[in-house]
């Protein structure tokens, strides 16, 4: 309850035991600066008890309760803190979603489906949650019900801090609650109250058609929608803080663990378990998170990415090791550790052949090497050549992240390219017929060669939109494939056109590459 105040207190060192915490025992408010001056953003129970209301102006509140203590509110930080708490609550369920209901009604939805037995049933689980939140000094109210709407209502308007609504009995459980428990806006509540509809039970017994007719505007829709959501006749999708992950293994410790070596051992055990789960489904991980749940309600973690999907436990563990367990900030210790594969890809078992798919084995070994290098040196440190759409050989490839490389062959629109390119090209001396015939003779590396066969020209114009400079060509080139009397095949070009008016400096000849 009153999340902003809880968050505010959590963000500050608790006062020495002797001194009473002002935010607990005395009327205390967080104030927000608006265009209408300071208004009350959140109140503690003591302040509520003295009749202060949310959104009241701070001046009015001080007139009513002169001893009111206050501090500036920070909604952004509050939201972050709520998100952090949500992350921490993932120890109970992988599906936690935020409920940023304003006005001190903030909360979290946890989908417990399928996980209760791990904690000894719903009731025991809820009690464990309550206890752990209490240790974190988070005053919490918990309700377990069939629908998010019903749980919301029971947690905030129920009698106890812990309410369990038996399955299928949402209607009876909600009947006695005020209509405000349906998450309606103030004007809708006021309207319903004016009609004498104060309890959800009264509202639910009315014929729907009459209700809809009576409230023929957006509010009515909202009333019916909220009612249906609470009773489960209308689905209410929730967005989890962390996208649902299928592959997740977790371990809870009896004592908070502060020793990194012990964490590494636990991580090894988790990796083994995860690898089994991945193998069962024929998938491999591309991205892994190791998350430690700290006793102070925060989490700490390590992320690794893989260049190619893998499920070899030893490899996965080595990646974490290379990344360094020492980067985990255990704080006062962690009491749970989870390993999640958030991105997975199908990875089928491969028959090893006697003729040894050397290529495949090599590729796997190369991917493993790249993973280890990236884990140690950082993601940007391992690059691969990518094809770029450019006619000019110098700019036809660029370096990019290894993982995003494509194996597509070069576009056939580009002419034949040699297997070896000189960058920069080497100057040659050539004799050729004007204006654009292939050279008849040329001298390269001080050896004169006589051309027997040739083809071309392939005329490539400079990329005018790129800044001049470096080794980028500034003049049009004519490329020729030539074969000399020794059987050597070359890719030579003339920079500058004789018929294009390039006289100063005159066109020059270059060796760009060798064909096989």
């Amino acid at each position: 309850m009153d999340w902003p105040i809880t968050a505010w207190r959590a963000a500050r060192p608790s006062p020495p035991d002797a001194a009473p915490d002002p935010a607990v025992h005395k009327p205390f408010a967080l104030v927000e600066r608006t265009t209408h001056g300071l208004i009350l953003h959140a109140l503690n129970p003591a302040a509520h008890a003295l009749g202060l209301k949310l959104h009241q102006s701070h001046a009015d509140a001080c007139a009513i309760v002169p001893e009111l203590a206050s501090a500036p509110a920070d909604p952004v930080e509050d939201a972050k803190a709520l998100r952090r708490l949500a992350g921490w609550m993932e120890r109970y369920s992988p599906f936690v979603s935020l409920d940023p209901s304003p006005g001190g009604l903030e909360g979290l939805f946890l989908d417990l489906t399928g996980g209760q037995h791990l904690f000894g049933g719903e009731a025991a689980m809820a009690r464990a949650m309550l206890a752990s939140l209490e240790r974190l000094d988070v005053p919490a109210r918990i309700a377990v019900a069939d629908t998010p709407g019903a749980a919301w209502a029971l947690a905030r308007h129920g009698d106890a801090t812990l309410t369990l609504a038996p399955e299928g009995e949402a209607k009876t459980a909600l009947a006695a609650l005020p209509v405000a428990a349906l998450r309606l806006d103030a004007s809708a509540i006021q309207l319903l109250n004016r009609f004498g509809l104060r309890r959800i039970g009264a509202l639910a017994t009315l014929p729907r058609a009459a209700l809809a007719r009576r409230f023929q505007d957006a509010q009515a829709l909202n009333v019916l929608q909220r009612l249906d959501q609470a009773l489960g006749t209308l689905p209410e999708p929730l967005t989890p803080v962390t996208a649902p992950t299928v592959y997740r293994v977790q371990r809870v410790f009896a004592e908070p663990m502060t020793n990194l070596e012990a964490v590494a051992i636990e991580a090894a055990a988790l990796t083994e378990r995860l690898a089994l789960a991945l193998e069962r489904d024929g998938v491999g991980a591309r991205r892994l998170h190791l998350t430690g749940f700290r006793v102070d309600g925060r989490t700490t973690g390590l992320d690794v990415r893989l260049a190619a999907a893998s499920r070899r436990a030893a490899h996965l563990l080595r990646l974490f090791r290379d990344k360094g367990f020492e980067h985990l900030d255990l704080g006062f210790g962690i009491d749970a550790l989870a390993l999640t594969a958030s991105v997975t890809e199908p990875l089928h078992a491969r028959q090893t052949s006697t003729l040894a798919d050397a290529d495949q084995a090599n590729a796997a070994a190369r991917d493993a090497l790249v993973d280890r290098l990236s884990a140690r040196l950082g993601d940007g440190a391992v690059l691969a050549a990518h094809l770029a759409e450019s006619w000019l050989p110098e700019t036809a490839e660029t370096l990019g992240p290894y993982a995003s490389r494509s194996e597509t062959p070069p576009d056939p629109a580009v002419g034949t390219r040699p297997i070896l390119l000189f960058d920069p090209p080497e100057p040659i001396e050539a004799v050729a017929e004007l204006p654009d015939s292939a050279p008849a003779r040329f001298t390269w590396r001080r050896v004169a060669r006589r051309v027997l066969r040739s083809s071309g020209p392939e005329r490539l114009a400079p990329e005018w939109w790129k800044a001049a400079g470096g080794c980028k060509p500034k003049r049009t080139r004519d490329y020729y494939r030539v074969e000399d009397d020794q059987g050597g095949r070359y890719w030579v070009f003339r920079e500058g056109l004789y018929d294009g008016g390039d006289v100063d400096p005159p066109p020059s000849w270059w060796m760009q590459g060798l064909f096989a």
Binding site: E389, W391, R459, T476, D499, G500
Partner: protein
């Protein structure tokens, strides 16, 4: 100038929107300066550029301003011939260049393009944005079959595609067999290192399919300096930026107009392909000057000439206007006016107006001619205007004169509530078949041009907006 003759038959101007990088005028001047024998403009599914090219050529030949005089001094007499053509881009993306031999074939070509463009309604009622049947501005829905049925008198050239394969050869054979007139294969050097092999291959295909190979340069701009502009246009067309466009841009700046010697060098070993350009050009007798206004013949009775009919009506009207006898001066003026009308050849126009006024009178719709037409005794006698100009001493030359070289303007007011009836009469009398599309050509205004070019160059919205604000219009 060289004795080599060459006619460039594959040229796109900026009327092939976002494809051609030069204006028709620039192309004409360049073709003349390079000493080409002839020049055929064929823009994508349109004839919109033909008038510009025609006018540019006439200006070169006739005008005596500084620029043309200087050009003529530098390059000699203007012998350049200009041919009207169009590039048909079919629904399946294949292309065909067509050149009308004569006036009738030109008419069929126009009908073909009208058919393609009027298929806009074929999809049904009010197509939505995502409707595959929706037609964008300038769209043309034409198939080879449509073109072939109207192809009589049209010489066709099929441009060789980027990739030459068996599919192309089969298509070429089918097309050649189906085309009602001469059919050629247009080959252009690409300067991609394989020209010799490519041209030999195309020559082989030409021999097998019976579609002789014709040399062209698939021109996109008049001068190699236009390559940057053409690249930018490609980016705008492909909705990308210059850095992303990659292979969609041309590898070089070779698609400009080239002189005959250069074309001969590029087509060495295929001299016949070069000669065929002239052979084709010699068969094209159609000129834009063959086109003139064609007046409806309806009001003229069969067997009559329009002038005789007009004279008859005028004198018959005169007797009605002057029941006491037509004075000699009136007869004199009438004869003088009729002579002039015959001379400037507008009798049909008077007959049409007379016909409309007649019908309005029959329906009891009030109408009255006004303005300068009141100066004409012919109009008075035809009942178009109501005031006798001889009694007012009005000057006929204000209405129609030889020097003006433009049709006279007869304003007739109709009772406004019944004007619609007159219009309906016009529709039924003169018919739908006389309706034509006036060319609507999409073009850039300076601001949107700057915005699109900026986008293609990868500038931010802010920068282009700031640049666009610096120009007016």
């Amino acid at each position: 100038m060289s004795s080599l003759a060459y006619v460039e038959l594959d040229v796109r101007s900026n009327f092939s929107f976002l494809e051609g990088g030069s204006k028709a005028e620039e192309l004409i001047v360049q073709a003349y300066a390079l000493g080409l024998t002839g020049f055929g403009l064929c823009d994508r599914n349109t004839l919109a550029g033909v008038v510009r090219a025609h006018r540019a050529l006439r200006r070169l030949k006739e005008d005596d301003d500084e620029e043309t005089v200087a050009l003529r001094q530098a390059h000699g007499e203007v012998r350049l011939r200009y041919f009207v053509g169009s590039r048909l881009v079919f629904r399946d993306g294949n292309e065909l260049l067509v050149y009308p031999r004569d006036r009738a074939a030109y008419g069929r070509l126009c009908r073909m393009l009208s058919l393609g463009k009027s298929r806009i309604d074929a999809g049904g009622s009010a197509p939505g944005k995502d409707d595959p049947d929706r037609i964008e501005k300038g769209d043309c829905r034409l198939d080879f079959a449509d073109a072939a049925t109207l192809g009589e008198g049209l010489i066709a050239l099929a441009p060789a595609p980027e990739r030459i394969d068996d599919v192309f050869e089969r298509r070429l054979l089918t097309w050649r067999e189906a085309w009602p007139d001469q059919f050629y294969l247009a080959a252009a050097p690409r300067r991609r290192g394989d020209d010799r092999a490519r041209l030999n291959r195309l020559a082989g295909i030409a021999a097998r399919t019976g579609a002789p190979m014709v040399a062209t340069n698939a021109v996109l701009y008049h001068h190699p300096d236009r390559r940057p502009l053409q690249d930018v246009l490609t980016c705008i067309r492909e909705k990308t930026t210059i850095d992303e466009a990659g292979f969609r841009l041309e590898a070089n700046a070779e698609r400009h107009l080239k002189p005959a010697v250069e074309m001969a060098r590029l087509f060495r070993g295929h001299e016949a392909a070069l000669a065929r350009t002239v052979e084709i050009a010699d068969q094209l007798s159609f000129r834009l000057t063959d086109l003139s206004y064609q007046y409806p013949h309806e009001p003229v009775p069969p067997g009559w000439t329009a002038n005789r009919r007009l004279a008859q009506l005028a004198f018959r009207g005169a007797r009605a206007r002057f029941p006491d006898g037509v004075s000699a001066s009136v007869v004199e003026t009438l004869k003088k006016e009729l002579r002039l009308i015959r001379k400037v050849d507008y009798p049909h126009y008077f007959l049409t107006v007379h016909d409309v006024v007649q019908e309005a009178r029959r329906l009891g719709i009030l109408c009255q001619g006004r303005g300068s037409a009141a100066n004409s005794v012919v109009c008075f006698c035809l009942g178009v205007t109501g005031v006798d100009p001889t009694s007012q001493d009005l000057l006929f030359e204000r209405f129609l004169s030889e020097e003006r070289k433009e049709p006279p303007d007869i304003d007739v007011d109709f009772e406004h509530e019944r004007r619609e009836e007159v219009m309906q009469y016009m529709y039924t009398r003169y018919g739908r078949h006389r309706a034509a599309i006036c060319a609507t050509v999409i073009h850039y205004r300076p601001r949107s041009a700057i915005r699109d070019v900026g986008k293609a160059l990868g500038l931010t919205e802010d920068v282009t907006a700031a640049l666009a604000n610096t120009v007016w219009g």
